[in-house]
């Protein structure tokens, strides 16, 4: 097992609320890792700290052998971590294809001079980026909407597009923030297939999800957060029977199971 990401003692406080306290977990290369917990448990905060949107008060992330920069989202992406958002955030006035191409920005090299003179390297890079973006749309299954403005896509397709855009950054770790939110059973099934495909193609997946069925069926390992603390981390079958987890989800009254 190669360890891809290790979080060491992450803590984050917002005013009087300790959103995360001393959270440590590790994700192995090639696995689908689930992060679950009741509302307000700190899952999205963990995401935001990991991707550099927030700076942790304490702790550090070791990714692929080196510490991740703090509070610099673009450098985190460059290192190989991509994310999607709980509430879809696409570039609404661009087409699906352009959204994915924008995702490829960080892997492109053209500078102002190259763009102005349209030299060979720039033209070839642009051509390859277009091809690649189209391939990614095909990968998530929405290539027929390549030319559609993204705000006009259906909800499920917007979710897929967001994943394609994240994949365009060529990540080693793909962090999905509640990708199944608002999806019906069929769409969730398709999403599940897609996530498995992504993993089988060599991208490690970190998944925040409310849909317990999806998480338990899909993830190799699961960590549970409650009030900012990690209360369990194991394979789904074990976590499911953990008393602390059941208590967190069903409330304190459920002492005698």
């Amino acid at each position: 097992m190669i360890r891809l990401l290790e979080a060491r003692g992450i803590a984050k406080r917002f005013g009087g609320v300790q959103a995360l306290s001393d959270v440590s977990l590790s994700i192995n290369k090639g696995e689908i890792y689930g992060l679950i917990g009741p509302n307000g448990a700190g899952k999205t905060t963990f995401f935001n700290v990991l991707t550099g949107a927030y700076v942790a008060d304490q702790g550090e992330f070791i990714f692929a052998g080196a510490e991740l920069p703090r509070g610099k989202p673009h450098e985190v992406v460059a290192r190989g971590i991509a994310r999607t958002f709980q509430n879809i955030r696409l570039f609404r006035d661009m087409t699906a294809l352009e959204n994915v191409m924008a995702g490829h920005h960080i892997r492109m090299k053209a500078n102002v001079w190259g763009i102005l003179t349209q030299n060979r390297a720039t033209r070839e890079e642009e051509r390859l980026a277009t091809l690649r973006a189209y391939e990614l749309l095909k990968y998530v299954g929405i290539e027929r909407y390549a030319d559609t403005i993204s705000k006009n896509l259906s909800y499920g397709d917007q979710r897929r597009l967001e994943i394609a855009r994240a994949l365009a950054t060529e990540p080693q770790l793909l962090a999905l923030d509640e990708p199944a939110a608002g999806m019906n059973a069929t769409e969730t099934g398709q999403l599940r297939t897609l996530i498995e495909t992504i993993r089988n193609d060599g991208v490690t997946v970190l998944l925040i999800e409310h849909d317990v069925k999806l998480v338990m069926g899909l993830c190799d390992r699961v960590a549970v957060l409650d009030f900012g603390k990690k209360i369990a981390e194991d394979v789904p079958a074990v976590v499911q029977r953990d008393t602390a987890v059941i208590e967190a989800y069903l409330g304190g009254a459920h002492h005698a199971h």
């Binding site: 673009h74 460059a78 570039f91 924008a102 763009i115 051509r127 277009t130």
Partner: protein
């Protein structure tokens, strides 16, 4: 040009080739048509092209990158004053235009960087207020830097700026072909400005369909998501800001040379707002729209200036509304009508940031590649 052609009603959508020819012919013959109405209108036309350049530059900042800049005219001022410093009797320097114009552009870009570095953390309204302040600061500096050391000559402005001289040919002189036929210098200026505008359009189009253009659109549409896909938001914003400023600087230099005179009052807040109005009126982010917006809004006030007074005298016997007041009124009305009827601007066509036809393109030959 295709954008402009598409703007023509009916023809643009049904016969794009014909529409393109109409645009080309109009571009070439515009000064002749203007000359038919008189020299004033040729001047107006030349100025209109300068406004087109300004609007194109501001569109890059506001329309593409979504950064509301209310002090854009300051960069125009930097370009114009650079020309005044480097090519006029004021300091006794008379450098050629191919040094002065790039210098103006470079200084404007630098001003953009200097302003942008601290300010671009701000968003929306806050950014607008700070840039507005910056625009005024530049103007007030120009107004007051005549004491203790006279740099800008204060409110009197700087006189007798050098004209554009291309290989010894002074384009501000009329060309006496025969005794009773002469070609007015305004023609030459028109074509010089036209060349600059065409160059700008090509440049901006290339930027738009590139990783930079997409990054600008990304930060405009969703700042947070742009960060999440690895765009260095600060750098990309700075680039937009200083490139936009560059166009302002070039337009400013041309303005100085054309007018032969610069003074701080040409660079008031009202000018910034006018250029912004052109961008919004035409259709933010859409090159064809912005050009048409700039042309319409620079001709309209002139038409008013020439016809409002006689018309009012004929109808009411006296002048009730001063043309200057009328101009502001028309601007306000145009913007309000725009908001109500076409919130996306006159020509709200979708902007492209990619070329899907590349999917079928052959690989670019690799020979000679580093």
């Amino acid at each position: 040009m295709n954008e402009l052609a598409a703007v023509i009603p009916w023809l643009g959508t049904h016969k794009p080739r014909a529409a393109r020819w109409v645009v080309i012919v109009l571009m070439i013959t515009a000064p002749l048509i203007a000359a038919f109405f008189g020299r004033t209108w040729m001047r107006v036309l030349d100025f209109a092209l300068l406004y087109v350049m300004l609007a194109l530059g501001l569109n890059l900042v506001v329309g593409f990158a979504g950064l509301l800049d209310l002090g854009y005219i300051a960069f125009y001022a930097v370009g114009a004053y650079t020309w005044a410093f480097l090519a006029s009797p004021h300091f006794g320097l008379h450098l050629p235009f191919w040094i002065v114009l790039p210098a103006g552009a470079a200084f404007a870009a630098l001003a953009g960087l200097i302003l942008g570095t601290p300010v671009l953390r701000l968003r929306g309204d806050y950014l607008a207020i700070v840039t507005l302040g910056f625009g005024e600061i530049v103007r007030i500096f120009m107004n007051n830097l005549n004491y203790p050391v006279n740099i800008t000559n204060g409110p009197q402005g700087i006189n007798a700026l050098d004209p554009i001289i291309i290989f010894g040919w002074d384009i501000s002189r009329n060309w006496q072909v025969t005794d009773n036929l002469s070609v007015n210098s305004l023609f030459f200026y028109y074509y010089a400005f036209l060349a600059c505008v065409i160059g700008s359009v090509i440049f901006i189009q290339r930027m738009q369909v590139s990783r930079m253009g997409r990054a600008w659109a990304a930060i405009r549409d969703d700042d947070l998501a742009a960060k999440a896909i690895g765009i260095n938001v600060r750098n990309v914003k700075l680039l937009a800001f200083s490139l936009g400023a560059t166009f302002g600087g070039v337009a400013g230099g041309l303005f100085g040379a054309f007018q032969g005179f610069v003074s701080p009052e040409s660079f008031s807040l009202m000018e910034s707002i006018m250029v912004l109005a052109m961008v919004v009126f035409g259709g933010m982010g859409n090159l064809g729209g912005v050009i048409v917006g700039a042309l319409i809004l620079s001709f309209l006030p002139e038409v008013l200036r020439h016809h409002a007074v006689p018309l009012q005298q004929a109808v009411f016997g006296t002048v009730i509304l001063d043309p200057e007041v009328l101009r502001l009124l028309i601007y306000a009305l145009a913007l309000i009508l725009m908001m109500a009827l076409r919130p996306a601007g006159l020509i709200p066509a979708h902007s492209r940031y990619s070329r899907p036809e590349l999917l079928k393109a052959e690989p670019v030959p690799a020979e000679g590649r580093a």
